[in-house]
């Protein structure tokens, strides 16, 4: 690609994601206000905040599922523009896990994991299957590889979704409320997979309400409200000595029960 405003081989200590002065509107509604954020390689960040605070919108901007109107986003050295080729290049480096899993119901679990490898990365089918089985093994669901998503439980589906994203060997993983649509007894199996992933050094951005997860694995917790980053701190500081009143109020509400 042309290296006009993006380095072709980002150095290891360049940030994974860099956001400067990000603003986004839905019509008149100002969803994201002046967001500045730098995510280092290997960093694990948890984003929390009340609903409607723009946290999902923020991470969806990082792979252009949402378009921003102002500011600059650089992912792995590539600056986000309107150019479709460039967007697709960024997306190949960014894995995403959705609240509602979004598995492809017409494809088997194995095919869900292979389809993008064979069609986007142009890998031979055998190699794609090998990679897929490797990651399905890691999320402990390899024995269900030939079933269809509709035959799996929510927790199993979400683990497949994680494996599917990992099959593309992304540099960074975005989690958009991965456990919010799950029954309580299935949350743990998904969180376990995410914790393991974090220990392997994957760069992760998680929008979640699982404060236990934030305490154990996050390097940094970001609190958002009304489209702004109100506070960001390592988990010990964030949970024990939150600075802003809004953070304190939020924490008392979700940790109170």
């Amino acid at each position: 690609m042309t290296a006009s405003n993006s380095a072709s081989t980002p150095s290891p200590d360049s940030p994974m994601i860099q956001v400067e002065g990000l603003n986004k509107w839905y019509g008149d509604f100002h969803v994201l206000r002046d967001i500045d954020l730098t995510v280092a390689r290997g960093e694990r960040i948890v984003v929390c905040g009340p609903s409607g605070s723009g946290k999902s919108t923020l991470i969806r901007c990082f792979n252009h599922l949402e378009e921003h109107q102002q500011g600059r986003i650089v992912v792995d050295g590539v600056t986000m523009t309107q150019d479709v080729k460039r967007i697709e290049q960024i997306r190949r480096n960014v894995g995403m896990v959705f609240q509602h899993f979004n598995l492809f119901p017409h494809l088997s679990v194995l095919d869900n994991c292979c389809i993008s490898q064979t069609w986007v990365q142009k890998k031979p089918r055998a190699e794609a299957e090998k990679t897929a089985m490797e990651f399905l093994e890691r999320v402990q669901i390899a024995d269900q590889a030939h079933k269809y998503p509709g035959q799996l439980s929510g927790g199993q589906q979400q683990r497949v979704a994680i494996a599917r994203a990992l099959c593309m060997r992304p540099e960074v993983m975005l989690f958009d409320e991965p456990t919010s649509a799950l029954d309580p007894e299935m949350i743990k199996e998904v969180l376990d997979v995410m914790v393991e992933l974090a220990h392997d050094g994957m760069t992760m951005l998680c929008v979640t309400h699982e404060m236990g997860f934030a305490k154990t694995v996050a390097d940094r917790v970001i609190f958002m409200d009304q489209g702004q980053i109100i506070e960001q701190a390592p988990p010990e500081t964030f949970f024990n000595n939150p600075e802003s009143e809004r953070t304190q109020l939020f924490l008392s509400q979700i940790l109170g029960h």
């Binding site: 598995l103 119901p105 069609w119 986007v120 509709g150 599917r164």
Partner: protein, 364 residues
């Protein structure tokens, strides 16, 4: 003497839930009211169907070649068998009918091959069916090349013409419809408006008007040296007309696919055509199989409208037979036979679509 202190255990009653008797009990005679209703229904059905069976089967005349063979009270199927060849081939020259036979046989073979899941090499057979077969059929049916005598389309007719029109319509309207449906949902204003205008124009005009325009009006606008075949014009009209309907059926399916599917495909780095071709369309088309087949069936039946521009399809050729002075008075037989032929094709499509729906079902 040995005495028993307990009663011998009762034997299980014979199982009345299985077999023909069991089925009758469970479905027709489970209770006095249902039994009565069943009896009434059986009596009414017999009263209605018996005369029909008597006319069509029992009292009917099957053998012979002239109208003198029809002496009984019932249907005169000799009328059909005597003109059977014309019904199939229209006015296609006798000596060249083997060409039609080859095309029809090959078509049946291809459809069967593609329809039966166990047979291998679907991709290649499908490719041949879509690319090789139309060319081959075109060359064979029309002739004029490779030493084949040319048979102009005005000599085509009967079932062969009906199948030609229906096949071209079906094979053409689905892909055009899919493209139009995608276009109508496009982000690009120009593409979107073009598709909307196309769909709304063709959908807003009666098919008869389309056919009239194709056969009468179009020649007025093009120079006389350029000669469009009448059948070709009708085919294009029919294809566009039905692709507009197909587009709306497919759009309904596209609408029903949650946006998360496309987002997931985007997040995996897929471009527009891969997202549509691999993720959205397979699900959307599966969802609207009933609507698609509905349109196919309507298309198949409406092929008989080509008779108004002077093409002799299956129905028209049978109608033409009714005016034959040797065979006056057999209109019922003609229409019943035409209806039966149409019904067989449409019913097959319907059954096959139901089978496909069951086969593609992956939700649980």
């Amino acid at each position: 003497m040995a005495t028993r202190t307990e009663m011998i255990e009762a034997r299980r009653p014979p199982d009345m839930r299985r077999g023909a008797v069991g089925w009758l009990r469970a479905n027709l005679f489970n209770g006095p009211l249902n039994s009565m209703l069943s009896l009434v229904a059986i009596v009414l059905l017999t009263m209605a169907l018996w005369p029909l069976a008597q006319w069509a089967l029992i009292d009917a005349d099957w053998l012979g070649s002239t109208r003198e063979a029809c002496t009984g009270e019932g249907a005169c199927w000799v009328f059909i068998s005597a003109r059977f060849e014309t019904i199939i081939y229209g006015f296609y020259p006798d000596a060249e009918r083997w060409r039609v036979d080859i095309v029809l046989a090959l078509m049946a073979l291809l459809i069967a091959w593609l329809a039966i899941p166990r047979l291998p090499a679907k991709r290649w057979v499908g490719l041949f069916a879509l690319v090789g077969f139309p060319v081959l059929a075109f060359v064979l049916l029309l002739g004029g090349h490779f030493g084949l005598e040319a048979v102009p389309t005005r000599e085509w007719g009967g079932l062969m013409l009906t199948l030609t029109v229906a096949t071209v319509g079906i094979v053409g309207s689905l892909p055009i419809g899919v493209v139009l449906a995608l276009g109508r949902r496009s982000q690009m204003p120009l593409v979107r408006s073009l598709c909307v205008v196309f769909i709304e124009f063709w959908r807003g005009v009666p098919l008869i008007t389309v056919l009239f325009m194709a056969s009468v009006m179009l020649p007025l606008f093009v120079p006389t040296e350029v000669e469009f075949d009448k059948l070709l014009r009708a085919l294009i009209g029919i294809m566009f007309f039905w692709s507009a309907y197909m587009a709306e059926v497919v759009r309904g399916g596209l609408q029903a696919i949650p946006s998360g599917q496309e987002e997931a495909a985007k997040a995996l780095g897929m471009g527009y055509w891969r997202r549509m071709g691999l993720i959205v369309l397979p699900q959307a088309l599966k969802l609207v199989i009933p609507g698609i087949v509905n349109t196919f069936i309507a298309l198949f039946k409406d092929t008989s409208l080509v008779l108004i521009i002077g093409l002799f399809d299956l129905l028209a050729i049978i109608r033409a037979g009714l005016t034959d002075s040797n065979w006056l008075g057999f209109a019922t037989e003609g229409y019943v036979f035409a209806a039966l032929m149409f019904w067989v094709f449409c019913f097959s499509m319907s059954r096959y679509s139901q089978y496909i729906e069951r086969r593609l079902h992956t939700g649980h």
